[in-house]
């Protein structure tokens, strides 16, 4: 076993990208793009580090998952490759974006953080000889370039963890185990005792270091496969589980990565295609889960009160327990039942009266059950409704929400808890109180979907936070809604920071924020600070506080006047890390904020990741949706996890209402895909009147037309009868009609002529449908127009900016800038840098100045000068020193710009020495657009030297 671990560490620290490239496969550009956070700095770093890794790592390729541990035989490489391709592409962005010099300190931090968790781990896994933490530490010590390799190893661990994301969402016991901050210490102790008990009975096969691994590595800022490890560890210790174990003894092959396993879950064992491979894998998967569960124990020990049952109330019943019960360990539950007079057996038979089913029931048992006529009494993790106990063993209806009774109060579940449990009859309405979004909220940073991207973003965030005090850098800004708030919270929690949150629901006007600034500076308690809910912190603002400014782009209105400016001031003056979150990086308000911030982008998770998680959710909620529908659902919400969960919860309600039929009604989000099918399907159209056909359009009259336009080319018209000429004719006519529809749409939107909607429907849906009525080839694609539109808007804005800045120097229009100027200009600036490296910086800066361009304009310029197929970004090939030199030259170049830089619209008070300078940081450049003060000394356009030193210095440090 130790050998496996070491080899695991050695081999699998290779990045995904590396593995793939070893096989000659390149990660798809889409994946790359998606997973790529945009920080200029990291690019070059990761490049070099990737090189390092490639050279160092042995060529043995292992599936980077914990599956390794379970595997007895190496799975064929092809499969690994396939699996790899499912994973996130861009391992390279797992690298911490800090320079090499910092890695030593980074690893030191890691080691420091190793210590406390090791103590915990020692608790849990007493009797284990060598903790994995020690191994990690050893490895780190051994690795030649300590920083890079270890962090990469650690990061790689985390990378390979990404697949845990989906299953973690289930809030399984392992995941729960991994969030110690959330649990009470006593609980943990209790559980550890129980674990001990388990272990003693156990025939432990695997290296028992996994629990400690998790803690160590996790504390080290990356994630470890927690879940995977328990399954390795744990053993079929419970005697009741022996039958199950025996059934799946030799099947422990490497199962597929987590992405596919949730799909292959037990939820539909019978319905899976019965290829032997899959069956085997499924069994392996089941076994793995089983091991997990064994190790994990109940999910919420002590979460509920155990009511007393009258002795003997279960007399005469034969019970079988299966699955993971929410808050009772298996033994305790058994004890409970026995104490009440029932007989507890381990397998389902003729005599069994009730099968008590927890989460993830053993497959064999439920299968047996399905043959018999037992009613599984399902226990849920929901609210306990506290019904009575007497005679509770009888008369349960097959409600899926029967209640569980839980341990006696007192959170310790020290093994001897003689709790009495009884199966409680389902009360008349068993109520969930949580929305699914909350229920499946990730409880630890490992649960977050999209972990690859998140991991890197999260890792960065963690590292940034850890190093914050060293750098005193400003805030951290994250992008769009891929769980960024949750991420930030969890990261902060895990690192032991206390979070103070301000979001769009709180007034964040300048005045209020200034109060915060004071607090943060003086690190004393202010009333305003208290109001923000620092609550339990007990007052003093310590180093361990983090200020979360959520939804920064929502600052609007009277209340928030001057808000962004105040935030910036806050950032500069603050002694605690400030994390700002926003959706739209390019929002004008954010742009000024962004210079003061470390930019951290969180990307949307990918379809597969969400799918995996959602399948597990669906399994938990006993919801049946086919894979295609789920995919369509996810795509239609644009990979928005929250929305998907909501839609699932609604359709769950629907299914519960009509359990017999599958999906009885269309949810319109699904409907967009189906609608398009219908539009072009000859069969469906036969039965429809014109009104019906027009009605198809009205399902979603904003998205529907886009769908038609995206997919009409795929339609195979029956009228064409195979003649491609005719098909082309029909396509042409359909295209004409869709264009007409577009004209109508324009008319509608611009003039608010909503009465034209039916006309739009006719042109867009009815006529193309009639012409091309037949069937659709291939999948229905989501319209790309939306994405392209936003790109277009961005480009327009960029061109506008650049042209406005260059106004005095060139007389060209925006067209001219786009077509003629940007290419040569870009070359003009970058060529000195490419050829002269740092020495060319001055020349390049001079070139910029001759066109009155600012530093940011260069980025814009490069972006608009990029056409597909042409050479990429020349700046990417430069190393950081050159870039830094260039930035310094431009910012410090003392060039007086003829324009004021763009600030958010906020009224400055008179004479306010505004800390928000022009974007290049020099005092003399246009700070304010409104000059209320005629005092010459305060006029921003006039060069003065006050305050320039400190701010300039600060800005410069941020540039790097």
């Amino acid at each position: 076993m130790p050998r496996d671990i070491r080899s695991y560490f050695g081999a699998s620290s290779m990045k995904q990208a590396d593995i793939r490239s070893m096989f000659g496969k390149k990660p798809s550009s889409a994946e790359k793009k998606k997973a790529a956070p945009v920080t200029i700095i990291s690019d070059s770093d990761s490049d070099t580090e990737t090189q390092n890794k490639k050279r160092k790592r042995p060529s043995r390729i292992v599936d980077s998952d914990e599956e390794d541990f379970v595997k007895k035989a190496p799975t064929p490489k092809k499969k690994k490759e396939k699996d790899d391709s499912k994973k996130e592409a861009n391992g390279k962005h797992l690298k911490p974006p800090k320079s090499h010099a910092d890695d030593a300190s980074f690893s030191k931090t890691l080691e420091q953080l190793d210590l406390p968790p090791k103590a915990e781990a020692a608790d849990r896994s007493s009797g284990e000889t060598l903790t994995l933490a020690a191994k990690v530490a050893r490895l780190k010590g051994k690795a030649p370039t300590s920083g890079a390799a270890s962090s990469s190893a650690v990061a790689e661990l985390s990378a390979s963890d990404e697949d845990d994301g989906p299953t973690k969402i289930r809030g399984d016991a392992p995941a729960q185990k991994q969030s110690p901050p959330k649990q009470k210490a006593s609980e943990k102790n209790g559980k550890s005792n129980k674990d001990l008990a388990e272990k003693h009975e156990a025939r432990s096969k695997k290296t028992p270091e996994k629990p400690s691994t998790k803690d160590a590595a996790r504390a080290g800022g990356s994630q470890v496969k927690e879940e995977k490890s328990p399954k390795k560890d744990k053993t079929p210790d419970k005697k009741k589980k022996t039958p199950l174990k025996e059934k799946t003894p030799g099947k422990r092959k490497g199962s597929e990565p987590e992405d596919s396993t949730p799909k292959a879950k037990k939820s539909k064992p019978a319905t899976e295609a019965a290829t032997p491979d899959e069956v085997r894998q499924k069994k392996a998967e089941n076994y793995r889960k089983f091991l997990e569960r064994q190790h994990a124990g109940p999910k919420n020990p002590g979460a509920r009160e155990v009511p007393e049952g009258s002795p003997g109330c279960l007399a005469g019943l034969t019970l079988v327990l299966t699955g993971l019960l929410d808050s009772l360990g298996r033994e305790e539950a058994a004890d409970l039942c026995k104490g009440l007079g029932a007989k507890v057996t381990t397998s389902v038979s003729r005599n069994t009266s009730y099968l008590i089913v927890g989460d993830e029931p053993g497959q064999s048992k439920t299968e047996k059950d399905s043959l018999g006529s037992l009613e599984p009494i399902r226990r849920t993790c929901r609210l306990w409704s506290g019904a009575g106990q007497t005679g509770s063993g009888r008369g349960k209806d097959r409600s899926r929400k029967s209640e569980t009774v839980v341990q006696k109060g007192g959170k310790s579940d020290s093994g001897g808890a003689s709790a009495t449990a009884a199966a409680v009859p389902p009360p008349d309405g068993v109520f969930e109180t949580q929305m699914w979004v909350d229920k499946y909220k990730p409880k630890s940073s490992k649960n977050i979907i999209g972990q690859q991207g998140d991991k890197s973003a999260m890792n960065k965030l963690k590292q940034w936070l850890q190093r914050w005090h060293r750098f005193h850098s400003g805030a951290n800004k994250v992008k769009v809604k891929a769980c960024k708030t949750t991420t930030a919270h969890l990261v902060c929690q895990e690192l032991g920071f206390e979070v103070v949150e301000l979001n769009a629901s709180d007034s964040r006007s300048k005045k209020l924020l200034e109060k915060y600034t004071d607090c943060l500076q003086m690190s004393s308690l202010g009333h305003a600070f208290q109001a923000a809910g620092s609550g339990g912190s007990g007052g003093r603002l310590t180093e361990r506080h983090v200020l979360l400014m959520d939804e920064v782009d929502g600052m609007a209105g009277n209340e928030d006047r001057g808000g962004v400016a105040a935030i910036i001031q806050l950032i500069r003056a603050s002694r605690v890390p400030v994390v700002c979150m926003c959706n739209d990086r390019h929002h004008p308000k954010i742009r000024s904020l962004s210079q003061y911030c470390f930019d951290l982008r969180i990307n949307k998770p990918r379809l597969e990741q969400i799918r995996g998680a959602m399948m597990s959710v669906m399994f938990k909620e006993k919801l049946k949706i086919s894979k295609e529908q789920l995919d369509a659902l996810i795509t239609s919400t644009n990979q928005d996890i929250r929305q998907v969960l909501h839609l699932l919860s609604v359709s769950a309600a629907q299914q519960r209402a009509a359990p017999a039929g599958g999906r009885t009604a269309k949810d319109t989000r699904l409907g967009a895909f189906d609608v398009v099918q219908k539009v072009f399907s000859a069969k469906e159209r036969q039965g429809m009147s014109i009104d019906d056909k027009v009605r198809l359009f009205f399902y979603d009259y904003s998205l529907g037309p886009l769908f038609v336009q995206e997919n009409y080319l795929r339609a195979n018209a029956h009228a064409a009868r195979g003649s491609s000429q005719k098909q082309l004719d029909l396509l042409s006519q359909a295209a004409d009609s869709i264009c007409d529809g577009d004209l109508v749409d324009n008319c509608i939107r611009s003039g608010q002529n909503w009465s034209l909607l039916p006309t739009f429907a006719v042109y867009n849906t009815l006529i193309p449908g009639e012409l091309l009525s037949g069937h659709l080839n291939g999948r229905v694609e989501f319209p790309q127009w939306l994405g392209k539109n936003s790109t277009r808007n961005k480009t327009v804005r960029q061109v506008q900016d650049v042209q406005a800045h260059m106004r005095l120097r060139i007389s060209g229009s925006r067209q001219d800038v786009l077509m003629d100027y940007c290419g040569p200009l870009r070359d003009l600036v970058t060529r000195p840098l490419v050829s002269g490296e740092q020495d060319g910086a001055a020349q390049a800066a001079q070139n910029m100045f001759s066109y009155d361009l600012m530093r940011e304009d260069l980025d814009d310029l490069i972006e608009i000068a990029t056409w597909s197929g042409r050479t990429g970004d020349p700046m990417a090939r430069l190393d950081s020193k050159t870039k830094a030199a260039f930035t310094r030259a431009v910012r410090g170049g003392h060039h007086s710009y003829p324009y004021a830089s763009i600030q958010e619209a906020s009224k400055r008070r008179k004479g306010d020495s505004d800390p928000l300078l022009g974007e290049d940081g020099d005092q003399e450049d246009g700070g304010e657009e409104e000059q209320e003060d005629e005092d010459v000394t305060k006029d921003k356009m006039i060069k003065t030297r006050r305050n320039s030193g400190k701010k300039g210095g600060e800005n410069k440090s941020r540039d790097i």
């Binding site: 609210l383 629901s505 609007a556 009277n558 309600a653 949810d667 109508v744 003039g751 039916p758 042109y763």
Partner: protein, 358 residues
């Protein structure tokens, strides 16, 4: 389940007896009474029984039952606690950012004892008229207090709702009601109002006093006319029914069109038939007649469009007609609302009809 028939004297406090608008009088209180969108309503009904409704956005055209559904849901879920556990804000209330941050937030924070699984509900009607800033302020509140408070938004166009809010809610779409559903409801209302069916012989109405039940007679084509003018909007249909009844007492198609002031569909139908036969003169006669009656081009063209969809024409011709009408409609919408344009439409239709088929 069936609404008690109120004969006006027991009207709401809001309305003077006898003048209760039927849309309010017959607003369904129970899920079973809600007409249309059965699937969506069924889902919400499940929630009302089991509790734990997520945040929802109901989007759809006006008059299809969004507000009614939400109210029914709230009433069912909360029962007697309805008054204290529901906050309703529609476009007639202030819903600016300050209100969101103060009023809604404090409501979300207040403690209301409810049975397990039930939450307080904040109903935001006509949510698409909330400003962006107000919606931004709403997002976090929705998340933070989701344990105790759920939000239900109703809007016409979901595009006006910012994406973060859309992401926090389940989107449920309401579509227009079908004709059959509307007719059913109308019939039921007529019963309750003790409207009697009479053959097409009109009966002089007895203007209702608030004591005696009114005698309203209706004919089939009257109901058809109402359905035609309603266009899938229940509110419109009920209003038209009530207005026609109040105005004329007898609900037949002539009266309905007088009340709703639309060009009579028969005229338009004839016009289209003439065009199909390429008879421009006859068609023009009708058009100029309508014009003289004072109808606006916009009204005429919308009706022409609606009728053309249902007209019995050969399929290919129908499509061509609809296309032409569409073009003209665009021009009208852009401001060319003259008789010349309308006549040009007729001419084009005739020309299309004359062309040999492909």
């Amino acid at each position: 389940m069936v609404q008690e028939s109120q004969s006006g004297s027991s009207g709401d406090a809001k309305f003077p007896a006898g003048n209760v608008p039927w849309i309010e009088k017959y607003r369904p209180e129970d899920f079973l009474d809600i007409v249309g969108n059965e699937d969506t309503v069924a889902r919400l009904e499940v929630f009302s029984r089991n509790g734990n409704v997520p945040n929802i956005i109901l989007a759809g055209p006006p008059g299809v039952g969004k507000t009614t559904t939400i109210l029914a849901l709230a009433r069912h879920m909360l029962g007697p606690a309805f008054r204290s556990a529901v906050l309703e804000l529609n476009a007639s209330n202030e819903r600016g950012i300050d209100v969101v941050r103060n009023k809604i937030k404090s409501f979300a924070q207040t403690q209301v004892t409810l049975p397990p699984g039930r939450h307080k509900i904040v109903i935001l009607d006509e949510a698409d008229s909330m400003t962006d800033g107000a919606q931004q302020a709403l997002r976090r509140i929705m998340e933070l207090y989701s344990n105790t408070t759920r939000f239900a938004l109703a809007c016409n166009t979901s595009e006006k709702i910012i994406e973060p809010i859309q992401s926090r809610c389940a989107m449920l779409r309401f579509s227009r009601l079908t004709d059959a559903q509307i007719v059913n409801k109308l019939l039921r209302v007529c019963e309750l109002e003790q409207v009697s069916v009479l053959p097409t012989v009109p009966v002089h109405s007895v203007l209702s006093s608030h004591r005696t039940p009114s005698q309203v007679s209706y004919t089939d084509d009257g109901l058809e006319a109402i359905v035609f003018t309603a266009e899938g909007d229940m509110r419109q249909a009920l209003n038209n029914l009530q207005s026609t009844f109040r105005g004329f007492g007898h609900v037949n198609s002539e009266n309905v069109f007088k009340v709703c002031d639309e060009p009579h569909p028969m005229l338009i139908k004839d016009m289209l038939s003439h065009c199909a036969k390429a008879d421009i003169d006859e068609a023009y006669k009708i058009m100029s007649h309508l014009w003289r009656l004072g109808y606006a081009a916009e009204d005429i063209i919308t009706n022409v469009f609606r009728i053309a969809k249902q007209h019995e024409l050969p399929e290919y011709l129908k499509l061509e007609f609809i296309k032409e009408i569409g073009y003209t409609h665009m021009r009208v919408a852009q401001g060319e609302t003259t008789l010349v344009q309308m006549s040009a439409l007729l001419a084009r239709l005739c020309r299309v009809a004359q062309r040999p088929t492909n």
